[in-house]
Amino acid sequence: MTKLKIQSLHKRESELANAKRQLEILSNGIFLNGGLPKFKDKTAETNQFPLKPNKLEIFQVNLGYMCNQVCSHCHVDAGPDRTEIMTKETMKQCLDVIKKTEAHTLDLTGGAPEMNPNFRWFVEEAAKVGIKDFIVRSNLTIIRANKKYYDLPDFFKKHNVHVVSSMPHWTRGKTDKQRGDGVFDKSIKALQELNALGYGMPNSDLKLDLVYNPTGAFLPGDQASLEKEFKKALLEDFGIEFHNLFVITNLPISRFLDYLIASENYEDYMYSLVEAYNPLAVANVMCTNTISVSWDGWLYDCDFNQMLGLKVASKVKHIKDYNEELLQNRNIITSQHCYGCTAGAGSSCQGAVI
């Protein structure tokens, strides 16, 4: 069993478990006294406010906040204590949309999406639709967490699922610091199992990508350079291969916001984000090509807005009423957390955006 060092904000009954409180923090302090410009004003400087959707490419579904891990940076505040799980009825509503959406990518996330009791049924049904890129965000340790998950790699292969997994560093110490004791060794074993099935191997159609996000209060470095380091170290040390590394900036929300405040890094981190603001990244942020669906069927501009309770600014707010044309006419809701996606080369669930 992975040793969990921390508990979710919900379990701790932290004030930051409340999304409204997070938004208050992000709108006050250095953003109120003129120290830093609000995201709205910054984007207005380059005539990029309000943000509008481009062509819809990614339909992202959060199957629930339950997870076998409690990672220190988690923007979902996921953990074993979270009971929010998508029902089969909502899954059916999602399937109806998947059949008719223009999006070429279906992206299942969580928590650990595999912990949803109807996960396999949903994957089987969704795979029948024949969407071009079918992603499951798997935390790797779930594969070794319980016997009932041991065959997940075969299940993924059977349905040609594109596996995307978090790996914060190629060393044990840094990985376990962020994701819990023992996570590194279990992740390595899971990656080796996936490689053995063909996942992540050169020229293989079984896609295996890794996600890197920093272990502390600093921004990620260049994606291509980090990918090179990851590939070299994982191959030399463990014989592991993978396709791409997605570099993601930690957004100042939920448990990462809690960490930033507790470690007295909040202001410096926000300065770093604003200093690295890149208008080119704004044009390509993921909320412009993504729709995010929560476990209970509400629609959001992205997974981060979902965690902040910021439902889409559209007449259509729930999957049961889904209308892509209407949704595409909305303004995207932003706040200061959005600086996390516009720093440097930008950040998204698919890594850098420029």
């Binding site: 190629w170 060393t171 470095g221 260049d222 350079s225 380091e229 990851f230 200093e275």
Partner: protein, 111 residues
């Protein structure tokens, strides 16, 4: 006026030096940027060199900046410490090699 010689927030104002000498300031920052690009050495290797030199010249701003830069590049704390030791070894060696001058002088005066 600050009561300490070093203020961490001054690092954010580094770019302001161009205000009092635009041409020289801009030439410096252009040069600085170019130096740290990928070249015969990787940007990662240059970051570790910069970290070691930061310690040798005892620049607190530079130490903050290149520790953060190293973390962003995935450089481990063990690599960072080894780099600092490399700088420290050269610095102490530079002191100790002067002992030869002392030995020469002793031999000349009292040999």
């Amino acid at each position: 006026m600050s009561k300490t010689y070093y203020d961490p927030s001054d690092l954010k104002k580094f770019g302001n030096i161009t205000e009092w000498s635009e041409e020289l300031g801009e030439k410096f920052f252009d040069y600085y940027k170019k130096v740290f690009e990928e070249g015969a050495l990787t940007a990662r290797e240059k970051s570790l060199i910069a970290l070691a030199v930061s310690h040798v010249v005892k620049c607190p701003y530079c130490i903050d900046a290149y520790t953060k830069d190293g973390l962003q590049r995935g450089i481990t704390k063990e690599e960072m410490m080894e780099a600092v030791h490399a700088g420290a070894a050269i610095e102490s060696g530079a002191t100790l090699v002067h002992a030869v001058q002392m030995m020469n002088k002793v031999n000349q005066l009292d040999g």
